[in-house]
Structures are given as C-alpha cells and as structure tokens.
Amino acid sequence: MAGKSKSPAALWPGLAALAAATVYLIALLAAERQALIISLIGVGVAAVTFVAWFRLFDALSHSFVENEDPLGACAILAVVAIAAYFRDDHFAMLLIVTVLLYSVATLGLNIHFGYAGVLNFAGASFFGVGAYTSAVLGTYTAVPHLIVLAAGGVAAALVGLLLILPVLRTRGHYAAVVTIAFALLFKTFLEVNDVLGGPQGMQVKGMKLLNWSFNDNVEIGPISLSFYMNYFVVSLALLIAAFILVRRLERSWIGLNLDALRLDNVAASCFGLDVARWKITAFLIGNVLIGVAGALYGMVGGFVAPNNYTFADSLVFVSILLLGGIGNPWGVVVATIIVVIIPEKLQTLQEYRFLLYALMVTAILLFRPQGLMPRPVRRYFPEWRP
C-alpha cells in the first residue's frame, strides 16, 4: 500500500453502493410473489459476486473508512427513506425494526468476538435476558420504560458476570463450550421457571413514554403510519448510539488493549495489561448492548418465550458476525440485513432457513474468510494526518 495510491476521498463508491442498496431493499421488501423475490435475490447474489470478482469490495470499504461521517449520515437517511416508503406496512416495518435491533445486539457480540476474543455462543441468551427483564418489569412494576430498557442492559451484564468467570478460567474452544453450556442451561431455566411463564412464556407490554403509547398507529393528518414506526424511531436511535460507542471503543486505547490481549495474551501481560480486567470490561459492555436491544425487541414482539432464545438463535447472531466481517461494525449491519430479511421473504424456505445460514457461512468461510467487509487497520482519528 504505497502512500500515493491512496485516493484522498473516494466518496462516490460508498454513495453508489448506499443508493443501490436502498433501492434494492425497497424492491425486495415490497416484492410479494415468490418468483419475483427469488429472482431479486438472484440479482443481489450476482451483483455481490460481480463486485467481489472485480475486487471492488476493497474500494468500497476504503470509501467507507475514509468518509465514515458523511456516509454514515447518508446511511441513516437511507434507512429513514426505506421506513418512509413502508410507513403503513406492518410486516415490512417489523422486519426493519428487527434488522435495527439485531444489529445492535450483534454489535455487542462483535465486541466479544472481534475485540476481546471471547467466543460467546450465548448471544441469544443475553438477548433473552433483556427481553425477559422488560417482560417482568412491565408486568409486575410501573417502572418507566426507558429505565426498563436500561435495566435490560444491566440485567444482561449482571448475568454475564456469572458466565465470564468460568470463561476467564478456560481457553479457546473450551471457553466457547462453556458459553454453549450456558445457552442450553438458560433455555432450560426459562422453561422450568413458572414465575417467568414456563415454556409458554410471557406477554410483554408495549412501550410507553409519558403519553406516547408505542402500540397505537400514528395518524398525522391524512397520513397513517404503522405503530412499528414508533419502535423504528427508538431502535434507529439505539443503533446509532451503539454504532458510535463501538466505533469509539475500537478507536481508543481500550480497543488496542483488547486487540493485544486477543492476539497474544502472554505478550500483552508482559507489557502491563490486565487481561482479566479488559476481558470483563469488554464482555459487560457487549452484554449491555445485547440486553438493551433484547429488552426493546421484547416490547416490539409483545411476547417472550424460551424457544425464541435458544442456542440456534445464538448461532444466527454468530453467522451474522462471520458473514459481515468480525470486528467491522459496517459489515455487521450489512450482514444483519441479509440474514434477517432474506429468510423472511423467502417463505418457501420455511424450516430450511438454518440450512441457508449454514450455506452462507460455509461459503463465506471458504471464499472470503475475513467476511464481506474485513476489518481495516485501526485509525484512531480518521481525519488525522501525521
């Protein structure tokens, strides 16, 4: 990478990709007939293959790295535009909100896998801790709902403290096995616990802020909006906050500490790093994100049950990470869109959706092991020049 070949600010590849993705997503979400959906997905796969074949992905991610702020703003606009298009379509809006909240949760998991190197296969369990927290607090107490969201994050962090202790005492695959055991135990715990509704689960009250009830459709003059639009606003705000948090974390000394201990914890401790402290910190921050997203998602769905937070669901989160590119928040968001929307639209898939995930992950590991958008080298202050 010679200094000269770095084009100063290639904004257009990022903009073009964003515009194309926006139009494509609107088309995909609006499509009803299976034949049309399948051909649209075919077009998408062909486009991605084309881009990969001509090695345009690097130009694309370069563009995003160099122009993160303007492109981030454009991405927010694009999401708002897509939501505006589907303003009264409940199903499409639910999918969009799902993408936003799964992105938040996967950003949290990204801190575990991508930075701290904690292979956490219990992501859905912590998502569930958040959701159950909002179910319990909403049912039994009158705690304001913003605090309920925060409580979801705190609860996930506290439960995470239980898990991180054995994880710290094990290494590599064994630590991963500990988290798998936790995921299985968590589901069983929910099923046998009558206070939490047992296998049938619990109702979750819709979100309410002061007099703004989220489960009512919104009427602004002649325009009527799906009630999911309320959740969309909060979810988008949450995703933006989570994205900025993860970005700042990576572009700080803490991000460096985490990379150092993930890559070589012996060398890291030789240079004064407290490996346990940073692993715990990263694990808890990640869990807060997962828990808050779970708490809000519980309210969106209106219902929580043990079957929604199984080991298989954790694997969905992991496959999002692998697909997007571990450590790259942009990749996480892109991969969430793919993993959430395609199986929902492809109704013909039905129970074969996990087969699709398996195929996607296998393909990505074979052909692009760093994920669709590999993580670039850290830039503490992207606009800074030596």
Binding site: S252, S269, V377, W384, P386
Partner: protein, 257 residues
C-alpha cells in the same frame, strides 16, 4: 555498590527437569550483560521467571531493591523491566503504531470514560504517543515512519525485530531483556540492529541490558561481561574473552575432550 537486579538461589523446575538450578546473578546499573550457554541451558527460562511469566520454585529476585520474586508480569513491567521474545511476538494484524503503543500501555490513560467520551484529550495523548513512537522508529529505520499505520504482517524480519525493540523501549525501561535479537537475521542485519540499540542506549543513559545471543561476535562487541549457563547453573562469569577461553565453557559447548 547496590545492584539493579539481584538474583539469589533462583530455581525453576518443569516436572523432573531443573531448568534453573540455584542461580545467583547480580547486575549493576548501565552495564550490558551477555547471557550465553548451549540450547536448553535455561537462558529464556531465566527471562521468563524474571518477567513473571513463570513462578520461581525457590530463590529470590530483587529489582531496584524491591522483591519481585512472586510479582505478576504487570507489576514487573511497571517496575521498569521490559523484554523482547525469542520468537517474534508482535500482533501481526495490527499496525506498527499499535504494536509500539502496546508497550506504552502503562503510560496511557486507561479510563473507560476518558477513552469513550473525552475524544479531544485522547487525541492529544494519541499525538504525544505518535511523536514518541516516531522518534524511536527513526533511530532504527527512518523508512518505517511512513508505514506507521500499516499492519506489521507486511514487514520483513529485521523490521519486525526493530518494531519489537521499539515496543520494549517506548516506556523507557531501566532494564531491557533481549532474547536472541539476531534470530532469523543475516550477519549484517544483526550488526545494524545492535548499533541501533547502542544508539538508543546512549540517548538515555539509564538503560541496563541483558542479552541472550548465540552470535558470539555480537556478544564480544557489545557486552561488558558475560554469564554462561549450562544445565541451569552458572559455569562462568566475566568479560567475553576470559569466559570464552575457560575450560568449562568450551566443554559445555563442544563436549568434554
């Protein structure tokens, strides 16, 4: 005079193998000591015990009059002992700057709030860190300054060694442990690297160095004296020329006649 590093009766066993056997070593400030001996004589283990990676089974280590025998690697690093590794242990996907800054860990503000919320202050610290790293890298290889934010994985072996030594020096330690810095390099590269190390040492006077090295030319040229180990025991000590002609040393290397 009081020594910088005092080691008394240090012993380290791995199962039935006695890697270090009742070793006594005294290092005075500002000297360069060569630690030599055949393979498996306990040189790297000695470094690992000093830096807290292995716990000693017996004996006592004091550094600047503080007992560090059972201290953690972190505490020892904070006390001012820094090291390089026999097999390069850089974080290959990270940039040169990142790798050097890992060595600067104890001097960077590690507060969560500071790192996430006080970006302007973090930026000042980052710029200070960059200047310090650049000044150090310039000593070793000015051409590397332009590649400061590229992954270390793209560097040849000699440059990786240089970055590793920069990482060990950025925190201005008082004792530097170099574990076979010439491994995997040509003779010319080794000479160049040693000159650079001496240059850095001349700049800040209070740097004591213990160097493990198989290249005897290096040992002869830069060390004030040598300690020779064999089977974990000290078999000779003194200036290189004396030590090299000692009978025990020749037997250890070449076998008894």
């Amino acid at each position: 005079m009081s020594g910088l590093l005092e080691v008394r009766g240090l012993t380290k066993r791995f199962g039935g193998v006695v890697a270090i056997d009742g070793l006594d070593v005294a290092i005075t400030p500002n000297e360069i000591v060569g630690l030599i001996g055949p393979n498996g004589s306990g040189k790297t283990t000695f470094f690992n015990v000093i830096t807290g990676l292995h716990a000693a089974d017996a004996g006592r280590v004091t550094f600047a009059d503080v007992d560090i025998t059972s201290a953690t690697a972190r505490t020892i690093y904070r006390a001012g002992i820094s090291r390089t590794f026999q097999h390069s242990r850089l974080s290959l996907p990270l940039s040169l700057f990142d790798n050097i800054m890992i060595g600067n860990h104890t001097r960077l503000n590690q507060g969560l709030w500071f790192n996430l919320m006080r970006r302007a202050a973090l930026r000042r610290e980052f710029e200070d860190g960059y200047r310090a790293a650049r000044a150090l890298v310039e000593v070793f290889e000015p051409a590397l300054v332009a590649r400061m934010f590229e992954p270390v994985a793209g560097l040849p072996m000699i440059d990786r060694r240089r970055i590793e030594i920069c990482r060990a020096l950025i925190s201005a330690p008082s004792l530097l442990l170099l574990d076979e810095p010439s491994a995997g390099m040509t003779h010319e590269e080794t000479t160049e690297l040693m000159d650079d190390i001496l240059l850095v040492r001349d700049r800040h006077k209070d740097l004591t160095i213990i160097i493990i090295e198989h290249e005897m030319g290096v040992i002869e040229r830069i060390t004030n004296r040598c300690i020779v180990l064999n089977f974990g025991r000290k078999i000779a000590e003194g200036p290189y020329r004396e030590v090299a002609s000692a009978r025990e040393v020749q037997e250890a290397y070449l076998g008894a006649a």
